[in-house]
Symmetry: C2
Subunit: 421 residues, 2 copies
Amino acid sequence: MKDIIVQKFGGTSVADTDKIKNVAKAVIKEKNLGHSVVVVVSAMGHTTDMLVKLAKEISPNPSSREMDMLLSTGEGVSIALLAMALQAQGCNAVSMNAMQVGIFTEKIHSKARILEIKTDRIIQHLENDEVVVIAGFQGITEDMEITTLGRGGSDTSAVALAGALGAKRCDIYTDVEGVYTTDPRIVPCASKLKEISYEEMMELAYGGANVLHPRAVETAMKYNAPVRVRSTFKTDDLGTLILGADKMELQKPVTGVASDLSGLRIVVCDVQDNPGTAASLFDGLAAENISVDMIIQSYARKDLNTNDIAFTIDRGDVKKAMAVIEKIKPDLNYSAVYVDDEIAKISIVGAGMIGRPGIAAKMFRTLANIGINIKMIATSEIKVSCLVDKDRANDAVEALHTVFGLDSDQIADVKGDLPNI
Amino acid sequence: MKDIIVQKFGGTSVADTDKIKNVAKAVIKEKNLGHSVVVVVSAMGHTTDMLVKLAKEISPNPSSREMDMLLSTGEGVSIALLAMALQAQGCNAVSMNAMQVGIFTEKIHSKARILEIKTDRIIQHLENDEVVVIAGFQGITEDMEITTLGRGGSDTSAVALAGALGAKRCDIYTDVEGVYTTDPRIVPCASKLKEISYEEMMELAYGGANVLHPRAVETAMKYNAPVRVRSTFKTDDLGTLILGADKMELQKPVTGVASDLSGLRIVVCDVQDNPGTAASLFDGLAAENISVDMIIQSYARKDLNTNDIAFTIDRGDVKKAMAVIEKIKPDLNYSAVYVDDEIAKISIVGAGMIGRPGIAAKMFRTLANIGINIKMIATSEIKVSCLVDKDRANDAVEALHTVFGLDSDQIADVKGDLPNI
């Protein structure tokens, strides 16, 4: 059996019939390299927005089961059209939806996780020399309910299929050329990474790099499936390869710098310092499905035996969070609540910082040197994040990018040096 | 268990979100009468045309398998939106596609016939007091391939579901108020029939009445399922009930008059009168999937031992038919071929003509009296069809409608006399 390549094309790549014909060319090119090809596609262009609009016209709060039924039709259109385009260019092809493949998920609508993928039907088609075009974003439960995978769903479908099929590689075609050391729109001398580990990619993704959804990276890591992020428009460019850290040669302590403006900070002042106060706060937030990112508890008023508790959440959750805090006021007995939405989270990420002391200190010193105050700090094994004023975010990213040697003129051109996975 | 009513709404009834909300009201009204309700819907308005256009942009001749994958998405949208509209109006509802229900068909794309319908999931939802909204027009094969049922597919889905579920009635909501004695656009005094038998309805449908597709009528007859054709816009009107002839009280020999302009006539002249010549002609046409309607073979030139063979086909098939005739010229050895596309087929239909002699003669005499020449004649047990000049078609329909006592001023108002099935 030939090596299998999974290719994924997003909504903008299949936005109209001319673009679909171009995608067909890219698929055939890969097939002509001697591979079996599985293609995962999203819904065409603005189809999903259009369907959501129709649903909102019908109901302010449509059930998530029916939303999944509705949205899954979008990929139904794009897979059929791409299969037709491949056939029109002389390539055997067959489209399959999640039910036909057997992409089984949890029974949770609008953000289900994939549990199992059946591969027998896909393999059979590949053995018939057919390209298999599969609907991304959608799944089914064991009792035949249609689910969707939520944001980044088609990326996750593609990576999970690559894992289940034991694919040689999963190519995520997108409108960027790969993963950069930081956002090139902020730092023009950002450099494209030839490779990055799953762990670094996840930290960068959660830190605000929108190239690949964290859940897709997590899925790739689980299956140890090599993923290439590459450009739909420059198919000759190899993009960035995401793979296991064990397969990488570590060179620099820091791989990338990320800036995230999506959060805001809530400070609850003078909370009674009793056992369980923090728990009751964060239990309350969790019950409302609010994800908390950074948390700091500080002894603000030791004489009064009270703490300040500060944490960051997605700014979309602020109303729900304030309602929770109001509700548990009798338990917490706080004096005041402040909301600070003028913040940015700046992160440096690098598997190479493990076992190299001083990286965090160097970050703090760099920010201090340009007069940036650090409001909160959080660290993981391969990441250090600082909360700073929003209007200094770009200054912080630029300075860190230079200090850690990531500017494009600081990086040697290693084109072609890497294994062509 | 409550009585089950199956309702079917076509594309124009669900063309936009306001219309879908109105359909939801009609569904809830039926449910509030104490019934379990199953609703079958088509794709919204011009969705199918739009999808076909996309396919044609991709490929001049897209594969029928992928066309079925593509077109089946249309009903996926309308079922989800109708379920949402029902929920928004406080009615429990769930949408299901053909795969989820288990509507099994032959493995023939674009015009599959239904083989079996699983009812267990539907029944389970009905027992949960949910309205079940089912995608019409689509089916699946036992190996999970998606099929479509062709023209009139949603009507057929609805009637077959009614049969499989043992429904009390299947209501086909449409833009006409019922089945008329003839086309009211041609004969203003056409009257709406309170009831009509399956057999009469089929003959009328094949004869050109476009209210309900013959295949849907055939399916209803197979299951002996009572079908009501009624208006989407006048839901208080009972429309026309289609049911078994055994349940009807026959009153008039002729139930309706139909006019069909869709055909044309081909005459093959001076064919050698050998055994097998007709067979080789009609075998050739069948091999090209050309349906032949009326056939006449006449001894035109007895002295030369040759026949004329005349037959009618759908005008869309004329090119293919002429190619067949050209190809078998060596076998048939004919002298000339004429195509006559200025024809109309006029039919009188009525289960009441069985056992009543003279009906056909009365038809011929009526046409002769107004100077209409009859080019061909065909009869069945409950139908007599005559081929006439196209420009006299309306005159023929009007005269026959009056002669057989079908004008509205000739029919007593029997409103409310019929059993309320």
